[in-house]
Amino acid sequence: MDALLSRFGGTAGAGPARDWRGVFPPVNLYESADAYMLTAELPGVEPDAIHVSLEGSTVTLHGERKIDYASREGASVHRRERQEGGFRRSFELPAAIDGDKVEAAHRNGVLMLRLPKSPEAQPRQIEVRAS
């Protein structure tokens, strides 16, 4: 299992810093004024088999997808397109995260992580007063 650190943001364009094709799980990243949202397609992975950790502004997802047909006696597999195995991916977010307020939900086979920016990283409105 290779650990892969994807850097988001950075300088050039919207593309990721490394080629992610074929890496499981595929993720999307969104930004709002006060938070990031990372979503990952993890169909067939039990919520308790998904581990999320945060270190600084680096989020790591790891876990395992299990598909157990072998234990089903007398079953023959006609078609096999879904894969099983372990996964581990790390992502460095463009700004600092408020680690105490991260929320994770797993719905319809999609993991949704809401990662609030730390107060220092949020945009601030500065009032301009006439002198």
Partner: protein
């Protein structure tokens, strides 16, 4: 079997433009199993709304459709995208001797499990051997 295989993601397979639905339509990855009394189909439908799942059986063709539960609200600006959002569609030719009334479907963690019972004539029967 201590070495676990690292998972690789397959890019979603987009279907051609024959549909009238808005947005992309993907062909879900499936596994198909046959057991003594039924066939089972497992389809990866990440993000699909379980209430949108439509399974139809018509003259030996099983059609599966599903729509996306929701897309992020507009205040979320996409920064990076490795997968696309869309609906799902796939058709299967299935044996004719399926008990259509007994087909059942269940969603769990974004995977649809379809159980297609074989009709009574097709199930294996054990024939008791009597001593003469």
């Amino acid at each position: 079997m201590s070495d676990r295989q690292a998972l690789e993601a397959r890019e979603k397979q987009e279907l051609g433009g024959e549909t009238t639905r808005p947005g992309p339509v993907f062909r879900p990855d499936v596994d198909i199993l046959e057991e003594a009394e039924h066939f089972a189909i497992y389809a990866d439908l990440p993000g699909a709304d379980d209430k949108s799942i439509d399974v139809r059986l018509d003259r030996g063709t099983l059609t599966l459709d599903a729509r996306l539960a929701s897309a992020p609200e507009e205040r979320w600006t996409p920064l990076h995208a490795e997968y696309r959002l869309g609906s799902y569609h796939r058709e299967f030719r299935i044996p004719e001797d399926i008990d259509a009334a007994g087909v059942s479907a269940r969603m769990r963690n974004g995977v649809l499990e379809l159980v297609l019972p074989k009709s009574a004539e097709r199930r294996p029967r054990s024939v008791p051997v009597q001593a003469a």
